[in-house]
């Protein structure tokens, strides 16, 4: 095992312990280990050298494998990993874009978020083939992104998604001045997930132990976020197929959840809730009682509306077999999170990289047998809403035993020097991965963020193939990916 260092989620390792292999050796090792890539990123290693880190995840044992290689300043290319393991495709594109080291024989070497002027679209020729260009400015209040469809009549043959309009250099900003405020602003609908990942990584690198109560409240907030966004998305899916009643009911129900969040912390999206050292707000008994009642009502409303929709044939004919991503495709392209689970890939970092509470509260992973169509993503959301509400109830019960504990731990600790840590949090969209490194002065020297959207945008492009172009918005809504999380 000298070619890899084995670590866990939220565990600090010495930078010096990470092996440096030569690139061909690393390639062979990655192929031999055959695990899911969660990160593949470079760091400026001085004198024009670039160090490439690879992190693979074993979703069954909860182990993370880290290794690296160094490219000398004259070494500007290598044989791409994607040829053998397709799920590396987006990581290698990003690495190429950031450091100019070209993965040779990469099948789809296009810009990820920078250099959009150089973007060349895949084109099809034929009398019946026409192109439809959508965006970057869209009708409705959504983020910018350009979509290029190759259609034959109403059928989409190929979709290409060009992003990067939201690129703002978050990773560099993190090095300049990192804060909870910055972390929670990266992806506006995953405030808790991002803020938790950031807080955990800082706590890991500073050796701060947070109280049980704080851990539970963070977990509660994360599940609230998941429930709220999923309910909102059910409403958005209903809206896209012009099923008005669903859109209205889910819209109103989501408001109940986010207003409960407002009572918890003063922000409907949970801004300012989580902080390094714990959480900023304690939950009083009255607030919890009231929240419990509200959430019971939420569950009842969601149950009723989902059942009504699943019984409505006009709704089902829109959802079923629309935008399908098969299990094989999902594994191959490396989809993560909700989109992967809907396609029958049972990865969920809450259970795969668990904290102590999952066992203590008796929360178990229930596998979802999805076939990867919009219907599966719709039903999976419903299932996850139910599970989240269940977890929230269990946490309320547990919190009663921890009344006297503080929610915030103060600490003057500095970062441990020359360290490396990974924090994975399962946001509602999927795994939010933060990786941080410190230098010999005890300062952050690299901060890497991977949003689930980074993996999943390609899944959306695959999903719409051979579907009607008018079903694209529905497929898009069923994934609901983040532009900002991809563009960083």
């Amino acid at each position: 095992m000298t070619n890899w260092v084995k670590t866990k989620n939220n565990t600090k390792i010495n930078l010096a312990d990470i092996p440096v292999l030569d690139i061909e050796n690393l390639r062979t090792e990655v192929k031999a280990l055959n695990k899911r890539p969660v990160a593949f990123f470079g760091k400026d290693w001085g004198n024009g050298n670039v160090r490439l880190f690879v992190i693979l995840a074993d979703d069954t044992s909860g182990d993370l494998y880290v290794s690296s290689t160094i490219f000398g300043n004259l070494q500007k290319s290598y044989e791409s990993f994607t040829q053998d393991i397709p799920s590396f495709h987006i990581f290698e594109r990003e690495f190429y874009e950031d450091f100019g080291i070209e993965p040779l024989h990469h099948p789809w070497l296009k810009p990820v978020r920078k250099n959009q002027d150089d973007y060349t679209f895949f084109e099809m020729q034929g009398e019946e083939v026409h192109q439809v260009a959508v965006g970057p400015i869209h009708a409705g209040v959504i983020e910018p992104g350009h979509f290029r469809f190759m259609c034959n009549g109403e059928t989409v043959y190929h979709l290409e998604i060009m992003l990067g309009y939201q690129h703002k250099g978050v990773e560099e900003l993190m090095l300049k001045k990192h804060s909870n405020q910055l972390a929670e602003s990266i992806v506006g609908d995953s405030v808790i997930a991002y803020n938790t990942a950031y807080s955990q990584i800082v706590e890991t690198l500073k050796d701060i132990k947070i109280s049980d109560k704080a851990q539970l409240i963070r977990k509660l907030a994360l599940e609230m976020e998941r429930a709220a966004i999923h309910i909102g998305d059910l409403g958005a899916i209903a809206g896209d197929i012009a099923y008005l009643m669903g859109a209205s009911v889910f819209g109103a129900t989501r408001t109940l959840v986010i207003n409960t969040m407002l009572e918890f912390c003063g922000s409907r999206f949970g801004r300012g809730f989580v902080t390094v050292g714990g959480v900023n707000f304690d939950l009083s008994d009255e607030i919890m009682e009231k929240a419990k009642k509200t959430l019971d009502k939420v569950e009842k409303d969601v149950d009723r509306m989902v059942k009504t929709m699943l019984k409505n044939s006009s709704v089902m004919s829109r959802l079923e077999k629309t935008g399908t991503v098969s299990t094989e495709r999902a594994m191959e392209t490396g989809l993560v999170g909700m989109a992967a689970r809907a396609s029958g890939v049972p990865i969920d970092s809450r259970f795969d990289y668990p904290d102590k509470w999952m066992e203590k509260l008796n929360i178990n992973k229930k596998v979802f047998n999805g076939i990867g169509d919009v219907n599966s993503r719709f039903k999976l959301r419903y299932k996850e809403i139910k599970e989240s509400l269940d977890i929230i109830r269990k946490i309320f019960k547990e919190l009663k035993n921890l009344k006297s504990e503080p929610v915030l731990t103060y600490s003057d600790n500095d970062f441990t020097k020359d360290s490396f840590a990974i924090s994975i949090v399962e946001g509602w969209r999927g795994e939010v991965v933060h990786i941080a490194m410190t230098d010999d002065n005890g300062k952050l020297s690299r901060y890497k963020i991977k949003d689930p959207s980074f993996n999943n945008w390609f899944g959306l492009a695959l999903a719409v193939r051979n579907n009607g172009v008018s079903d694209f918005p529905l497929c898009n809504k069923s994934f609901n990916l983040s532009y900002s999380g991809n563009d960083l």
Binding site: E154, D240, Y243, N312, S314, R318, G468, S470, D471
Partner: protein, 305 residues
């Protein structure tokens, strides 16, 4: 004369109210308060006051189309019996002229959409043209069958359907009404064929064709579209309302039927998702099949026992 003036007033105002009632019904089913039923009228007056934004790629076609489309719809409206079975402009012309005046309006709205050069609008125009080619023959079959029955080619004969045909008349009326109602949904771009409230360009049919139109042009297109819905509703009303009623009772019943149709449209839009684009043809063919039932009933009545 008084009735004709009243009809003219109905023609100009009721389309807005129809839209208002549909929206109010949708709000009711969605558990919302909804805006006033006069809102579409206020929207119209608001749009009139706005400045035009016209794309540089467009030609004169784009500029004249809203007016041509509205004029065509209004001209067609003059030939249709409205309240009390009264036609505003009673010319000795048949329903074929009516259908093709409407067709002219649609032709201009299609080429105006193509004129913008936008890939969305071309897509919308091709969808609209596709559905029209199926709706038009179905419409002809329904109306021509009824007229064959009465031996008269003007719309006057619609209300005589019960007097001439006995018990067959009821069946013919039911199927004709359903066929025409489906035509309202298709021609008026309502759910389940189209979604008038969506902001998603890729899924639109009618809305995407007028995406580039602004200010007065947009107002005229929307108005023309709702007048078209009133026209077809008027045909339904005149099939249902017996000609034996007194004039004012007939007017009231007419307004009630229009109101009821709006409420039904609003209810359908609330309780049903939109059909997948590739399945819309099947829905349009349902109208055709109802039309064929009307035809076969008429044939059975005329040549059968």
């Amino acid at each position: 004369m008084l009735i004709k003036l009243l009809n003219l007033l109905i023609l100009l105002l009721v389309p807005f109210l129809m839209m208002g009632v549909i929206r109010k019904t949708k709000a009711f089913w969605g558990g919302r308060k909804g805006c006033s039923i006069f809102q579409p009228l206020w929207d119209f007056t608001k749009l009139i006051k706005k400045d035009f934004v016209i794309s540089k790629t467009t030609s004169a076609v784009f500029k004249i189309s809203p007016v041509v489309n509205l004029s065509a719809v209004l001209a067609a409206a003059l030939l249709v019996p409205m309240s009390a079975g009264t036609i505003i402009l009673n010319l000795p012309v048949g329903f074929v002229l009516f259908a093709y005046i409407l067709g002219l309006g649609k032709f201009f709205s299609l080429i105006s959409a193509m004129d913008t050069g936008s890939s969305f609008e071309g897509m919308g125009a091709s969808r609209e043209a596709c559905f029209t080619t199926i709706v038009e023959p179905a419409f002809f079959i329904v109306i021509a069958s009824i007229m064959a029955m009465t031996g008269n080619v003007t719309f006057d004969s619609l209300s005589k359907i019960f007097t001439n045909t006995g018990s067959y008349g009821i069946l013919i009326a039911i199927f004709a009404v359903v066929a025409l109602f489906l035509m309202i949904l298709i021609e008026g771009s309502r759910v389940p064929v189209d979604d008038p409230t969506t902001h998603l360009e890729l899924t639109m049919i009618h809305e995407v064709m007028i995406l580039d139109n602004s200010a007065l042009d947009l107002a005229l297109f929307s108005w023309a579209n709702s007048i078209k819905m009133l026209l077809i509703s008027s045909l339904i009303a005149n099939i249902i309302i017996p000609s034996s009623l007194s004039q004012w009772a007939s007017v009231l019943l007419y307004l009630f039927v229009i109101f009821a149709i709006s409420v039904i449209i609003g209810t359908i839009e609330s309780g049903m998702a939109r059909i997948r684009m590739s399945h819309v043809f099947e829905f349009v063919f349902v109208m055709s099949s109802f039309a064929l039932v009307v035809l076969s009933l008429v044939v059975a009545r005329m040549f059968g026992g």
